[in-house]
Amino acid sequence: MNIFAKNDPLATYAGNTWCPGCGNFGLLTAVKSVLKKFKETGRLHETLLVSGIGCHAKIVDYLAVNSFYSIHGRVLPVAWGIKMANPTLTVIGHAGDGDAYGEGISHLIFAAKRNTDLTLLVHNNRVYGLTTGQFTPTSPKGFPGRSTPSGSPEEPLNPIKLALASGATFVARGYVGKVKHLTNLIWEAVKHRGFSFIDVLQPCYTFFNTYSFYNEWVVEIPSDHPYEDLEAAFKLAEKWDYSSQAEEIPIGIFYKVKRPTFEEEALIETRDFDLFEHIRKFHQ
């Protein structure tokens, strides 16, 4: 027996259990295209996915690559530890919005601050999917989830602004309705040295169907956007604050700069040592 699906060397035999119409399918397609490039250059075994828990996280069961299906909110520290052990791996994190912006928000801020060399894709459906439809940090105010049947009382967070404020060096937004654009974004993110963050708009067909809303308002960021200008990025991020109204929802790269990575700044080459010499020197 082996782990592969019948006709697809990138897929496992695990049956897909996303709802029909789920935005995760588009994301899966995009990620697969990126993995395919790795496969073509014989580097697929050097890629690794880390996921949280939630609908989004099932993606690692579907893909025949190295993966760590971790726990809710902890994609980033697990991925970080993996990089400590083996900085040559290309690590892509898959988190939900509950995952990355709720339970695990602290790690997002620190991954950005440290410029850890990995990519985080947040499958942002603005709802807790797998736990059947509660409001998340990016749900619009008034969202009638199961924990807030008369409407969420909170304004949403804007994760783009948060990532910018935390020092991320690659900040982008994608949309599963634009798979090709998303594929390119992911590819750029993976190539970027340092922490690459993509908030991926991923409608939840069952609990928060936002397709037509996004289709109406999503606009690609023009290529003359000043990618290295933090204030410009912040301004662009303010165009849409994750509410249920929009005039324009920019997708694409908001910000991209070079900064030394955590791995470059903090890690040393590990090696063995002579215990008894060490004791003679420091303990006698």
Binding site: S67, G81, M84, A85, F273, H278
Partner: protein, 550 residues
């Protein structure tokens, strides 16, 4: 006590007076003379002010506990004399600064030296009074100047230190102690240094920790020596990140460890369970302090035993090891790494403030455990969670061309893909739990026994060893110490306790957690000696408490 030389000094002053450093230098100097020493450090949770003291006991025989009585008090302030003079033995002497106003009034023999003045004259920082005090003590003990000078040169390092010491040495007077000197240098380690070195020796490559007393010095030590030891040492945003990154690192092939105290460990419990399910070799050091909650952060208690034994949701194999002194801390931490990797499951090392922050002079063993694992030999499709007789699946790390390595927190099939199928669930639970058999076999012998045939048995775990071992010797008791608390070494303990008329358990907590564990495993506990005021047993106190019961 043994009819052999021993000598205790209490150093006292305010936090910020360099009391601890003073005690350490004295202890190290004596170690270099070949004496055995033990340093106990008592300090409140503040940075400047308050009252700190260290007791350094030195002897010609092995020791790992302090005594209440001391031969000399080195007082950097008046409060020290007031608080501690009742500890002075007959013929005991107080060494103090001329400036201490109360000095003259104290009833005991006193030697005053103008430490503050010396420091001032040499324009040294005030904290160097501690060096001056050390010099007076050295002089009092008739130890040649050259020895002090060399110790200072190697350990304290500044010229100014030397000048202060020299001046003070000159101005101080000799006492009547005849301090012995042996050939062989003794090595010295804080408990936490021994833990750090045990891990490093076994093959640690990634260490992550968030500071928390009394675990922080593992982080500090490893951070200071990271280049030398070849270990990545990282201080992350919180304990949750620490343990999860350690898990990530171990999954990707690097032996990894984290260390914390009870409150920080509490935050790691969710990840502990993850390590159980995903079969990750994870080592966590838990250095106990008095709880519940923040409790009394710089003092000691053995109050987290029951917590660590069963922390984590769901059922998975784990090991809990409890060293009693620096040597055991070294050996058992190395063993923790070995077991974690051999069985791909979490292993806990349970320490406490008294072990972690006391200084021991002991030799480390030449032989020790190292990380080894059942490596995947390649061939067919790799299955991370392949079934096997001992429950352990061959290990491969992500990055190799011939394997897809999938770890998971979900219940899973051999490839690591999620399952909800009842038979698969049960089989995987059994697979993991099967490791307990091997673990049990490997740890069953881990019991320390002394005076095997004595009728009265004293039982303890962890840092209580130091005092207990001396009492056992002095009173002719049997001493039995489980070094592993899960799996519980029932058979070995049964053998060790065979024929005991009476079983007395002593531990530093309020509910008798070791006693409960023994009862659970079918042992009779006749008497309990509990202490839960945050202080460890001194030799003298434990002696009295045991004597009362005999």
């Amino acid at each position: 006590m043994k009819n052999s030389f021993e000598f205790s000094v209490l150093f006292g002053g305010k936090a910020g007076d360099g009391i601890r450093q003073l005690g350490i230098l004295w202890a190290k100097l004596l170690c270099r003379r070949g004496l055995k020493t033990f340093l106990y450090d008592d300090y409140p949770s503040l940075i400047r002010g308050g009252h700190n003291f260290s007791i350094v006991r030195a002897a010609e025989f092995p020791i790992s506990a302090h005594r209440d009585q001391v031969n000399v008090i080195v007082a950097l302030n008046e409060e020290t004399i007031r608080r501690h003079q009742q500890r002075l033995s007959e013929n005991g002497v107080v060494l103090c600064d001329q400036e201490i106003p109360e000095a003259q009034k104290a009833p005991s023999a006193q030697i005053t030296v103008p430490w503050a003045q010396i420091v001032k004259e040499l324009s040294a920082p005030k904290i160097m009074r501690n060096t001056a005090a050390l010099a007076s003590l050295v002089r009092f003990c008739q130890i040649p100047w050259e020895e002090l000078a060399q110790t200072l040169r190697e350990l304290a390092k500044t010229e100014l230190n030397l000048s202060v010491a020299q001046k003070s040495y000159e101005l101080s007077e000799k006492g009547h102690v005849d301090f012995p000197s042996k050939d062989k240098n003794q090595a010295f380690f804080f408990g936490n240094e021994a833990i750090a070195l045990g891990a490093a020796a076994a093959g640690l490559k990634v260490f992550l920790a968030y500071p928390m007393t009394p675990a922080s010095s593992i982080l500090h030590y490893l951070a200071a020596h990271r280049e030398r030891l070849g270990i990545n040492v990282i201080h992350p945003e919180n304990e949750i990140a620490a343990v999860l990154a350690a898990i990530g690192a171990a999954y990707a092939g690097s032996p990894a460890m984290t260390a914390t105290s009870g409150g920080g460990f509490a935050l790691m419990v969710e990840a502990l369970s993850l390590a159980g399910q995903a079969e990750i070799p994870l080592v966590i050091v838990e250095c106990q302090r008095p709880g519940p909650s923040t409790g009394v952060p710089t003092y000691t208690m053995q109050g987290d035993l029951e917590f660590v034994l069963t922390a984590g949701h769901g059922e998975f194999p784990r090991v809990v090891l409890a060293p009693g002194d620096a040597q055991e801390a070294f050996e058992l931490t190395a063993e923790a790494l070995r077991l974690a990797w051999r069985y791909q499951t979490p292993v806990l090392v349970l320490s406490d403030k008294h072990l972690s922050e006391s200084l021991f002079s002991q030799n480390l063993p030449q032989q020790f455990a190292r990380v080894e694992y059942k490596a995947w030999s390649g061939g067919q499709t790799y299955a991370r969670y392949a079934f096997s007789e001992d429950g352990v699946s061959p290990l491969a790390f992500p990055g190799r061309k011939d394997a897809i390595v999938k770890a998971t927190s979900y219940e899973h099939d051999p490839f690591g893909l999620t399952t909800e199928e009842p038979t698969q669930i049960a089989r995987m639970q059994e697979k993991r739990l099967r490791k307990e058999e091997g673990l049990k076999r490997e740890t069953e012998k881990m019991v320390g026994v002394f005076n095997r045939d004595a009728p009265v048995a004293l039982l303890c775990f962890g840092s209580t060893k130091g005092a207990a071992v001396e009492i056992a010797e002095r009173l002719g008791l049997r001493l039995v110490r489980p070094l592993v608390l899960r799996p519980f070494p029932t058979q070995t303990l049964q053998k060790a306790l065979k024929g005991a008329d009476r079983i007395i358990v002593c531990e530093t907590n309020a509910t008798g957690q070791l006693a409960k564990l023994l009862a659970f495993h079918g042992f009779r506990v006749d008497q309990k000696i509990l202490k839960y005021n945050g202080r460890p047993f001194s030799v003298d106190e434990l002696y009295e408490r045991v004597k009362e019961l005999l």
